[in-house]
Symmetry: D2
Subunit: 141 residues, 4 copies
């Protein structure tokens, strides 16, 4: 089955949508790739992202995963809110490393959508695995 | 059954532990109450915590909930890491409001601990409900 | 705030609804208490409920928890389907013991509902803790 | 990276392990494929598996998913217990259809393992998606 193509206008809208997001800007998280139902975010782990052990705080990778999944829904032309999200923490990411998250839609329903996301470090080691349910507010035209 | 009392030394250790946490400082999240197996955090929702809709970003309340639960484990004299965390998002918190999170230990096991947390807005409305499993690294003396 | 009372007709409807449920009958799980937004189920752990270790199979307590929560939604006059469910397993229940589950609505929304449930053994020890999101199909009159 | 091969003795042990499981036998769930870190289960949806709507009860697919994931851990020579499990319900499976579950290990740690599973109907439609954490009791020799 062929994957629908994402319109250039939607991509532009999404880039500005996330670029203008105060919390993502505050954490220096950037949207780096947008395809239909699949979005990637990138971030350098800086001092302000860490806990007292010098590794990234769980809240930062939660933010990356949740945002990547919500953005993947938007990249199916659906505006959504997170209903719930489950995260498994597998590996720590120390300060100074680069991290990225990939969110994917695995069920594109009329009322709800199911997504998964992975957060990796710069050596492509799986650090966080998540699964989440989103409520569809409206379809974007 | 009487609840064990938390030593003053542990309380002091915990306050400095979380006060020195770079990510919590960056988000202006403060530990405001510590009892045995129960910790409260407080935060004012400022512009940098919000998404483009002017409400708190899910990653912020995730951070509050995860931290409150991990701290509740520490307040049982156990040093832990989060294994997994599930969050249900119930109500949005707009910029300018005050929010607080309460984390509680509901199973204090030798190898793992189970906690729950709630995040409320300043009108005491339930906004986020979470459940999480922690892996015990070591007992604090 | 006063809790709405559950109509006797709804209680009767619910009892027959769950009494006629083939899987619950097959597992000998009974609805034993119905209040507004709160339902209790009871079951004796028999040989067919166990795994090779002689303790109750996780799927049995999952069934009890999921059913208790869905029934608690029905006891708010809402017909629902489970969107997702998270379960933490705390303690094993050996063959021969009695077990019960209590499901409670913690957010009664228009489109979705959030519930939690606990499964206990006959000594009232907490064995399973769950949190789940339900999608509202329709309001019952 | 080459995947370790599963010893024939382990396969035989696992088949009898699950064949002798009272709850799986009671539900007519069979282990049909075992590879290193990956196990498939099959089941025909019969009347006793259903709820009052004539579709499979969530507890049945929960049982399939949880068992497939635990078996996938065993197929890495690790004996485990489920710590927690999150399930998203996507599509109903009506009585009379065939269903199968595939469980996979995605993190094979020393103390804990992370798995995911999918349950499909006979048309290979995704019906349930799960993620779970397991606690390692011991390595099998």
């Amino acid at each position: 089955m062929e994957k629908p193509k994402l319109a250039e206008a939607t991509k532009k809208y999404m880039l500005s949508f996330y670029h203008d997001n105060p919390f993502l800007q505050y954490l220096h998280i950037n949207v780096t790739s947008i395809e239909y139902g699949r979005v990637r975010l990138d971030m350098d782990v800086q001092h302000e992202h860490t806990n007292v052990y010098g590794i990234v705080h769980g809240g930062v990778t939660m933010t990356m995963a949740d945002t990547a999944m919500g953005a993947a829904c938007l990249a199916c032309n659906k505006q959504v809110v997170t209903l719930d999200c489950t995260l498994s923490f597998i590996r720590a990411i120390p300060e100074g490393l680069h991290a990225y998250a990939v969110g994917k839609v695995i069920h594109n329903g009329e009322h709800t959508m199911i997504c998964e996301a992975e957060v990796y470090d710069e050596r492509d080691m799986l650090c966080v695995k998540t699964q989440a349910t989103f409520f569809v507010l409206k379809e974007l035209c």
